[in-house]
């Protein structure tokens, strides 16, 4: 089980079809494609990554589950490396602020 939560140290907004995220600590910018944006928006600290992939990704984008899970793991690991997504084996209690729009 892997739980994911958006960091509170970021700002995020949609620009057309793309989600752009900025680290408020060092102003680094990231662009998320639509699939990554779905994971980002669903990362509430209480929903597991597996469930996000099953309920949101496979359903909305009609992709193979195994491949979707692999891509999601890779994305989460990249975003976690930059500190803009938190990952834990337990639910993450500190609810992120509603920064996305």
């Amino acid at each position: 089980m892997k739980y994911v939560a958006r960091s509170t140290q970021v700002a995020a907004r949609m620009l057309g079809d793309e989600m752009v995220i900025m680290s408020a600590k060092d102003s680094t910018l990231f662009t998320l494609n639509p699939v990554a944006a779905v994971i980002w928006n669903a990362a509430d600290g209480h929903t597991t990554l597996e469930r996000i992939v099953d309920d949101k990704i496979c359903e909305e984008f009609e992709v193979d589950r195994q491949r979707a899970m692999g891509d999601a793991e890779e994305l989460v690991s990249q975003l976690a490396e930059h500190g803009i997504l938190l990952v834990s084996e337990q639910p993450i209690e500190n609810e992120p602020q509603g920064l996305s729009r």
């Binding site: 140290q9 700002a11 907004r13 620009l15 057309g16 793309e18 752009v20 900025m22 408020a24 600590k25 102003s27 910018l29 662009t31 920064l99």
Partner: protein
Amino acid sequence: MLEQRYAGFLSAATRPTRPGAAAPRSPFRLDVELLPEGAPGPDEDVRVRREGGRWVLTRGDFRAEWQPEQRRGWVRQTANPYAIDSVLRIVHTLLLAEAGGFLLHAASAIRNGKAFLFSGKSEAGKTTLARLAPAEVTLLSDEISYIRRATRGLDGRGRPSPQDQGGYIAYGTPFAGELAKAGENVSAPITALYFLEKAAQQRVEPLGTSEALFRLMQNILFFAEDEVLVRQVFEAAGEFVLNVPAYRLAFAPEAGVWELIR
């Protein structure tokens, strides 16, 4: 010193109309106190931090405070023009951030009633482009551009005011770069933002909104160690790139480059 440095940007309304009379209310006020000779020079990085409801600005040659609620502040500085210049830039970044605007590392100019921005760090060509401007171009700045959201309002006859394009307005600034010449104290709606690159041939290429946002964020003047302010600036920059077309302008230092600016 201030009158000379900011000539063209001083308003009669900020001075008492007769000796002993109170000065009319200004949008904001900074009281300046000069430190005695021998105080440190500007050899420290500037620090801007929020302390309670006020901002504290420090550098070797000045210490200042700004209270956004009261729109008042004070500066204690050595008698050098760079200190007050820095404080004014910082205070304006704070004022603009509240209103969806920003100061940008950019030359800016008005041609045929339209404002154009030319952004880039030092050596990108801001001053070069300003020097090459044809006679009909009014220079707003060769270094720091002042950008504010257009205020929505009606003119005296109930029609949308000329500046109400739902967009952004560029204003002239006294903050000069290598040109060592203040811009004109005028404004116009912003038509386009160009990111400058020196090249052998002239070329203009449109930029997507994400690319424009990435480049814009690198060139917005930003001093404060404050996450709320970072988010305000990010939001402002995002809105800006959704409303103003952005381009990459590769240019050779020839007057012909201005034929691309329309």
